[in-house]
């Protein structure tokens, strides 16, 4: 079967369960395609030989009751994988081999999936284009020299290029939804506390969440069902009743109230995005949803708030990289000089910039003016959503203010790079779930995404709305394998 890599996760699971395909056949197909796709630079670490061995073992004694039976999968290199190098896209973790497994990846292996390798990402997940990675930028399979989005850029590129049937990313300010939007794929950022953060290299702990990235909504629901578990190893993991998201998935969203926030009509938004949003509203109406105008008055303050909260938490989380216990070390005359040189040579420019911002806003004399102020505005942003959800069941917005941009186009202007996350950041600040689905193309043929934001713990509802709209949109990604010689 030569078209194995074109199959969706759900099809592959079905074919392995009915013994039409073996895990070895499927794994071999994805490994071969990944090997032919090195130009995309989607992988940081390949583990193909082990993957093929594990597939062989699975086939010798297949457990077909599992949810991901013998399915090969590559994951973002921010998840610690036992005995396999985990770099977070950074020089400072270049040689780090974890002695433990993240809960999210463990859940995936427990359901029968097989690790193929670790996917490229922005350094410590700080970036919106995958250009801050120590391991180089990633190509978007849509078009050469186009960024795949970030920080989960290796993940979005790999799913869109069919190097892996499905993957996981992490989302602190948009790092799953923005790259999904840039590559014509589906990405879900779950409610804060729904997926364990244990074993994920920490960026901003009050915002970080892991989530699935897939070719379609059904696959996304299935993987979310596997990764979303209560975990006592994460003190912010929340013990709530989780659905069997893929089984309970329905296209019946009749009478659901969907809010359209007027503040998301930002200055300078391209007409293509405005048109896409209008089309999205029509699709939602066609599905039987009721459209209601709402207001989220503090939307414009979300990005400035985020750029205080996230760097502050990052500066504290990244204090552990000191060149002593693991990772890269630069030699110095004394201990302090060793620390300073290690961090100066081990971290890239964007990470250093954010550590400095974070250190400054937390430093004596500035804490109240910046950090405390940001926490207060964060409360106002959350209140906006709480108010809106008295009237609506979900909110529909564009995922990004533009389609994917060229590599190098925004690297010299941090603020213009940050503006990419204008529609995704408020969702992280309020701890809500959000999903991006491909909804159309711009004039250049680049994908554009729509975002559906839900109430906390209401993943099923936004998955259902996405599932119903996906059917109406009938999006087809335009990828011609240009990188395969």
């Amino acid at each position: 079967m030569s078209d194995i890599t074109k199959q969706s996760l759900s099809e592959l699971v079905e074919n392995i369960k009915s013994k039409k395909l073996s895990s070895s056949e499927v794994t071999k197909a994805f490994v071969e395609r990944s090997e032919k796709s090195k130009e995309l630079n989607a992988y940081i670490t390949e583990d193909y030989a082990n993957a093929l061995n594990k597939a062989k073992k699975f086939d010798e004694k297949p457990d077909l009751d599992l949810k991901l039976p013998g399915i090969p999968m590559a994951v973002k290199d921010l998840f610690c994988t036992r005995d396999l190098r985990t770099t977070a896209g950074s020089k400072i973790l270049n040689n780090f081999v974890p002695t433990y497994e993240s809960t999210v990846t463990q859940n995936i292996w427990n359901e029968g999936a097989i690790l193929m390798g670790k996917l490229n990402c922005d350094e410590f997940a700080m970036g919106s284009s995958n250009e801050t990675s120590f391991f180089g930028n990633v190509q978007n399979p849509i078009d050469k020299n186009l960024v795949p989005g970030g920080s989960s850029g290796g993940s979005s590129s790999a799913v869109a290029a069919q190097l892996t049937p499905i993957t996981i990313g992490t989302d602190t300010g948009g790092s799953i939804r923005q790259p999904a939007s840039f590559t014509g794929t589906v990405g879900l950022k779950p409610t804060y506390g729904s997926c364990s953060r244990y074993g994920i290299v920490a960026f901003a702990s009050s915002l970080d969440q892991a989530g699935p990235m897939a070719q379609n909504v059904k696959d996304c629901a299935l993987l979310h069902e596997v990764i979303s578990t209560y975990d006592e190893k994460d003190s912010t993991s929340i013990d709530f009743k989780r659905n069997e998201y893929s089984k309970e998935l329905t296209k019946d969203i009749k009478g659901k109230k969907i809010g359209i926030p007027k503040e998301y009509r930002v200055d300078g938004m391209p007409k293509e995005i405005e048109d896409l949003w209008k089309k999205g509203i029509e699709y939602a109406k066609d599905c039987g949803a009721e459209i209601i105008d709402i207001s989220l008055p503090h939307t414009n303050y979300a990005l400035p708030t985020y750029y205080i909260v996230a760097p502050a938490e990052a500066s504290s989380n990244l204090a552990r990289y000191d060149g002593v216990k693991y990772g890269f070390r630069a030699e110095g005359e004394n201990l302090i000089e060793m620390y300073e040189k290690t961090r100066s040579e081990g971290f890239g420019a964007e990470v250093q910039r954010r550590i400095m911002i974070g250190t400054y806003v937390l430093s004596s004399g500035y804490y109240d003016a910046y950090y405390l102020k940001a926490q207060k505005v964060r409360k106002l942003i959350k209140n906006d959503f709480d108010e809106a959800y008295k009237k609506v069941d979900a909110i529909l917005t564009p995922s990004t203010p533009s389609s994917a941009f060229k590599i190098g186009e925004k690297t010299n202007d941090p603020v213009s790079m940050y503006l990419n996350d204008i529609f995704t950041v408020p969702v992280n600040l309020a701890g809500l779930p959000g999903i991006s689905i491909p909804a159309g193309q711009d004039a250049k043929g680049y994908p554009l995404g729509l975002q559906i934001i839900g109430k906390a713990f209401d993943e099923q509802n936004i998955l259902n709305i996405a599932y119903a709209m996906e059917d109406k949109i009938n999006f087809k990604n335009n990828i011609n394998d240009w990188w395969i010689k």
């Binding site: 780090f96 693991y326 400054y360 309020a430």
Partner: protein, 95 residues
């Protein structure tokens, strides 16, 4: 507000990241444009707003204090940049 080179040097000390003149100048420029953008928050009156410290409205759970992980000393030490059988090695601290 403006962040000068002296402030950059102070933050770099606190951050334990060494910066030379050239890098300090670049950082000052970047940080100033980012803080210009952040200053927007001052438009809002927040005197009576409670700060949001966590979106997860739960109280921390207690668990029994048991050792669950195995002894991984050798593997943990192996990740150290300067290898030694029993210890992490750093430059001399006490003269």
């Amino acid at each position: 507000m403006s962040i000068d080179l002296k402030t950059i040097k102070h933050i770099s000390k606190l951050s334990r990241i060494s910066v030379d003149e050239k890098k300090a100048e670049k950082l000052a420029g970047d940080l100033n444009s980012i803080f210009d953008f952040i200053e927007k928050l001052n438009e809002l009156k927040t005197d009576n707003v409670e700060p949001l410290t966590s979106v997860a409205e739960t109280t921390l759970k207690l668990r029994s204090d048991e050792v669950k992980s195995k002894n991984l000393r050798d593997q943990v030490i192996k990740n150290s940049p300067k290898e030694n059988e029993d210890y992490f090695v750093v430059p001399k601290v006490i003269e």
